[in-house]
């Protein structure tokens, strides 16, 4: 055995924008020494549609469908901060039933988004069959949404002052299907993935984010909680009627890619319980109003307002500045995925080439939100 000190070559590897595991059009330019990453630089902007600028030339109501297309895996969740911010300026009272419907639809889409996040994550590690089962559950969730408002993905369900449509019998049946199918799926999926040796080897100890790092880089959502910081806006700064419900906020201590998977799986159980609780509360408000008193032509009083919600990817914020006209002066979104990927260039060096894919996938990013 000679030549153990083989000199490896340094080279630059370009990954994306067309690559099956960059979750869209993310591009990563990485320097490698042999097979070890030396530096990584995420390049964004391949899906920059100038959304914030477009909203300035639209009326407030016309602006709502654009928010759906930020984090397109969970459209309703993006409507909410925009609606909350504008409603702060308008000073509208939201009916109880409307708030509950908003929360219920948000939780259903959160579940759908987590299903994509988990499924694609495991698929990127090579287990293609593991993506089919979560997508099946996602279909059940989308079925509820299409019964509720007629659209599968980009729903635009939330209106200023309330919601677009009331709960109906079709939704009951569709939701019951989701509630029936989900627990057996979760149990089966744990059996399928949790103990898999390849999965454990590829994720344990890979991409470790400490709590300090996570806070310094502004990570939010499941990625933050997987690093040991227990922070969830639904519990710590409740909006809508989340303060009425008691729910657990799971936390992992390891902060590696495996912890981020476990975190999402544990949160699925919490979301499932929340859907059940909110649904029970919704049944008690049968026949209630779903729209507050909002004028036909929306003239928002001058001023600024900021609202934030806990989205599937992290904390989504929306700042609206108005000068009293029918269209906003300026709208800005705090997009969680955008802040979450900032840590990549610190996290990736030192890892092997295949681990880069694991790290990208474990953060559950969505490019519509990063580039806006």
């Amino acid at each position: 055995m000679q030549n153990l000190n083989v000199n490896s070559e340094r080279y630059t590897l370009n990954m994306g924008p067309q690559h099956p595991s960059t979750h869209g059009v993310l591009r990563i330019v990485a320097d490698f020494d042999g097979e070890t990453c030396v530096s990584a630089d995420p390049q964004i902007g391949y899906l920059h549609r100038g959304m914030e600028k477009l909203l300035e030339s639209r009326t407030y109501v016309q602006g709502m469908p654009y928010t759906d297309r930020l984090d397109y895996l969970a459209g309703v969740n993006n409507n909410l901060p925009y609606a909350l911010a504008v409603e702060k300026l308008l000073g509208v009272e939201i009916p109880e039933r409307a708030s509950l419907l908003r929360m219920l639809s948000c939780e259903i889409m959160r579940l759908a988004s987590y299903m994509v996040g988990i499924g694609i994550y495991i698929m990127d590690l090579g287990a293609v069959s593991a993506v089919f089962y979560p997508y099946q559950q996602r279909e059940y969730a989308l079925e509820v949404m299409s019964a509720l408002c007629g659209a599968r993905m980009t729903q635009g369900y939330i209106r200023f002052g309330g919601v677009q449509a009331d709960w109906n019998e079709q939704c009951d049946a569709a939701l019951q299907k989701l509630l029936d199918e989900f627990p057996p799926f979760l149990e089966m999926y744990h059996k399928l993935v949790d103990e898999n040796e390849i999965f454990l080897h590829r994720t344990k100890g890979v991409g470790v984010v400490t709590a300090e790092q996570a806070k310094a880089y502004g990570l939010t959502g499941a990625n933050l909680r997987a690093s040991g910081v227990s922070y969830d806006l639904r519990r710590d700064a409740p909006y809508c009627l989340y303060d009425r419900f008691k729910f657990k906020v799971p936390v992992q201590q390891a902060g590696d890619c495996h912890a981020r998977y476990v975190q999402r799986m544990e949160e699925c159980e919490v979301i499932y319980q929340l859907i059940k609780d909110i649904y029970a509360a919704l049944k008690e408000t049968e026949g209630g109003e779903i729209m507050g008193k909002v004028p036909k032509v929306l003239r928002v009083p001058a001023g600024e307002a900021y609202a934030q919600t806990e989205n599937p990817k992290g904390i989504m914020g929306c700042m609206v500045a108005s000068d009293g006209k029918t269209n906003p002066l300026r709208v800005h979104f705090r997009r969680p995925s955008f802040d979450n990927i900032a840590i990549y260039s610190e996290l990736m060096p030192g890892h092997k080439m295949a681990d880069l894919v694991t790290i990208i996938a474990s953060f559950d990013i969505v490019l519509g939100e990063i580039d806006a």
């Binding site: 924008p17 100038g50 099946q136």
Partner: protein, 190 residues
């Protein structure tokens, strides 16, 4: 072993007279098909084969890409039609499904990918962004439609289109392959 056939090729100097009772005489294509012999050109045969097994390029741009993935998953299951082999490399793909908004920054990459695909190749524009720029048409950074960059064969409307619509788009492309004489099909929306 010599293949026995009752087809006689015409002699130089015109077509011989056909006698329906004489099985040794020249037969028309219809008569041959009745006897179980199929005459076709290789081009037609290849088109028929390609139409049933198009290989799309796995290439997602925005929201529509999620519906494109849904189309391949269990409920809609595009493999029923033979289109499930999504290739990661443009060198192995037939069809490019432009699923999402093309931005000015992405335009060169889309163009390059199209040119990297081997002939024959087709393009499906999925969703309003790929058709015309959709809701982002007046943005400073958005290309107003995939047909500004690459030639498009089938347009699938929707924002995003349902998976059934994408399957229908693929079947329209198959129809175009099998019947190249049809120039344009415009669907009425009722």
């Amino acid at each position: 072993m010599a293949l026995k056939t009752n087809v006689r090729f015409p002699q130089r100097g015109g077509m011989p007279e056909g006698d329906p009772n004489n099985s040794h005489d020249l037969l028309t294509q219809e008569e041959l098909e009745k006897r179980g012999i199929l005459l076709t050109s290789l081009d037609k045969l290849f088109r028929w084969g390609t139409g049933w097994s198009l290989w799309p390029l796995q290439f997602g741009l925005a929201c529509c890409a999620i519906e494109m993935i849904c189309t391949t998953q269990s409920r809609f299951d595009m493999s029923r039609f033979g289109y499930e082999v999504f290739r990661n490399s443009p060198r192995q793909a037939d069809v490019m499904i432009v699923a999402g908004t093309i931005t000015e920054k992405m335009r060169p990459a889309v163009e390059l990918l199209y040119h990297q695909m081997p002939e024959p190749k087709w393009v499906i524009a999925m969703g309003s962004c790929a058709i015309s720029g959709g809701p982002f048409v007046d943005s400073y950074s958005v290309v107003a439609g995939a047909d500004k960059v690459v030639p498009v064969d089938v347009y699938v409307p929707g924002c995003p289109p349902r998976p059934e619509a994408l399957i229908d788009g693929m079947l329209q492309l198959k129809a175009k392959l099998l019947h190249p004489e049809r120039q344009q099909v415009v669907r009425d929306v009722k």
